[in-house]
């Protein structure tokens, strides 16, 4: 590229610290997790090789499958909740309007707040006594709908996912907004000339232009849904009675509460596998339309 010669060692030593930290703490542990997953180990006594036992007992555990089911629910919430709401607000904000920045700031705000604070706030919103949601229902005369939002077996996951949507749709809104602003003016004008208005224009002109972006957000929504932890750990810790447990909570409990590191590692490998399968499936399903 330029006249600096004999730079081999310079380059090597310049990159070394970053590479050591990155490979040693982010990459190698994935391999170690895989390795640990074949052992029975509490971190203190010697490791005992048990082959596939950890995987087999995980797959036999009903609580794990409850976690899988809840993860799928979170994934659906991401895809059918966060993405459309994000797109909806992006469409609303995609125009020159006074005060548009203020609106965007308020809608994006939850994205930057720590999931812990969000969860504690929403835990209070969902409280039976003196919670915001039940209080609002009382105010509008729907007192009969008051619920134990987080504790009820039927509504627990619904309430958790409401918070999940609230915290994250702003992220997708901004991505959609950037994509909308990249649609060339000529295409919009041509569509107007052809008499395409309202819904028709959205469906036949705007949406096809967003295909690539929708695909990217879809991947984000899927992989993020398998990573949900803080939100549920703080709000319900997976309870009551595993009702809102997701796979990451199950993994944490087994590895760090029961001190079963081999078992926990096997679960973390299964989470990775399941999220890859979900992304692959999404790829297959949407391939034709892309």
């Amino acid at each position: 590229m330029h006249a600096l010669k004999k730079t081999g060692w310079t380059v090597f030593f310049g990159m070394l610290p970053a590479l050591i930290i990155y490979i040693g703490i982010a990459l190698v542990p994935i391999g170690m997790s895989f390795y640990y997953s074949f052992f029975n180990w509490d971190g203190l006594s010697p490791m005992k090789f048990t082959g596939l036992d950890n995987y087999l007992s995980t797959l036999k555990d009903a609580v794990f499958w409850k976690g899988v089911q809840n993860n799928l629910f979170m994934m659906a919430t991401g895809i059918f909740g966060q993405l459309p709401i994000g797109l909806f607000f992006a469409l609303l904000l995609n125009r020159s309007l006074k005060g548009i920045k203020g609106y965007r700031s308020m809608l994006f705000l939850p994205v930057v707040i720590s999931a812990v604070i969000v969860s504690i706030i929403w835990g209070m919103v969902f409280k039976i006594e003196s919670g915001l949601l039940n209080g609002l229902l009382d105010l509008v005369g729907l007192g009969a709908w008051k619920q134990d939002w987080l504790g009820s077996p039927k509504l627990g996951m619904f309430s958790v996912s409401l918070t999940y949507i609230w915290q994250n749709y702003g992220f997708y809104m901004v991505i959609f907004l950037a994509a909308l602003q990249n649609i060339p003016e000529e295409i919009k004008e041509a569509a107007v000339m052809d008499g395409a208005t309202g819904l028709k224009r959205f469906w036949f002109v705007t949406l096809p232009m967003l295909k690539e972006t929708i695909w990217v957000t879809l991947i984000f929504a899927i992989s993020n849904s398998f990573r949900v932890f803080d939100l549920i750990y703080v709000m319900t810790a997976g309870g009551p009675a595993h009702n809102t447990e997701v796979m990451t909570i199950y993994m944490y409990n087994n590895a760090f509460q029961n001190m079963n590191f081999g078992y926990g590692s096997a679960v973390s490998m299964l989470i990775l596998l399941f999220s890859l399968i979900a992304i692959y499936a999404a790829n297959l399903i949407t391939r034709r339309s892309r």
Binding site: G14, Y22, I25, P29, L93, L97, V116, L132, S268, L272
Partner: protein, 275 residues
């Protein structure tokens, strides 16, 4: 496009209502934090009848907020310095030098954006235990750095690649070495991207919970999210005091967000918009 005035005001009203509804939980929390526990139990919805500030001094003490703030500030800043310095150096060599495997190294760093943290949790815990680092600030600084090098390098390489190729030429004629060129020419030119990277690293480190939960158990070393989660779990009876604690934890972040929103939003969505 022309939009009629009526349509425009309807849109404004509609947006204003939605936005207010969106931040209602936060407003409710801040409002209620000024109520006494008794008033809150009788009147959880309206504005406080008597503004009571005692929750704030109580919460600050009971929740050890001072300690948690300090720990969060220390860990966040240390991790930012390490990440951005090492990331900038690596980005410089990746973007400005032709060496064998430079693309490969770049690709290797990018993989990091797809690694789920929980899949590395057990080995990192074991590693920190073996190194004797459990319950130290360093045990958080290292993983925070490792996991955010990827996005840092992604943003910085993208920026540094756009510089014209002859920038270094004159410096080389003057006899400057690779590191001097990095320090006195490339780094100053990268300032806008460095700002973005510092800002998103700040927000990620400041909010991080899972590593802290696993690697830190001493109260004196807990970061803000971990400390607040514990506090909320134990002081369930004192709701308005909790709200005061949350409000105090939220305020610096709110100020940070309002000041630096543009770069923050750009940085956080960089992986999705460019990628």
């Amino acid at each position: 496009m022309q939009t009629s005035r009526i349509k425009l005001s309807v849109l404004h009203i509609f947006l204003a209502i939605l936005c207010l509804a969106n931040i209602l939980p936060i407003l409710w929390m801040i409002g209620s934090s000024f109520k006494s526990e008794e008033e809150f139990s009788i009147n959880p919805m309206g504005l406080p009848k008597q503004w009571d500030f005692s929750n704030y001094s109580k919460a600050w003490k009971v929740a050890h907020l001072g300690t948690y703030f300090w720990n969060s500030i220390f860990v966040t800043i240390a991790a930012i310095l390490l990440t951005v310095f090492l990331g900038a150096l690596a980005s410089y060599f990746i973007s400005r030098f032709d060496f064998k495997g430079s693309k490969w190294v770049y690709g290797l760093f990018l993989i990091g954006m797809t690694i789920p943290i929980h899949a590395t949790l057990v080995p990192i815990f074991i590693l920190m235990k073996k190194l004797g680092l459990l319950n130290t600030h360093l045990s958080l600084v290292l993983p925070y750095t490792a996991f955010h090098l990827s996005i840092t390098i992604f943003i910085l390489v993208g920026f540094m690649k756009s510089f014209p190729k002859d920038i270094e030429e004159s410096a080389i004629i003057d006899g400057g070495g690779a590191y001097r060129i990095f320090w006195s020419i490339i780094l100053p030119m990268t300032r806008p991207a460095l700002a973005t990277v510092v800002i998103i690293n700040f927000i990620y480190n400041w909010n991080e919970f899972l590593f802290a939960l696993v690697l830190i158990s001493k109260t004196g070393l807990k970061t803000l999210p971990l400390g607040l989660a514990n506090f909320a779990g134990t002081e369930t009876k004192f709701q308005t005091m909790q709200m005061a604690a949350l409000t105090m934890a939220l305020l610096p972040l709110l100020a940070f967000y309002l000041l630096l929103e543009k770069q923050l939003v750009q940085g956080m969505t960089a992986g999705a918009v460019k990628g």
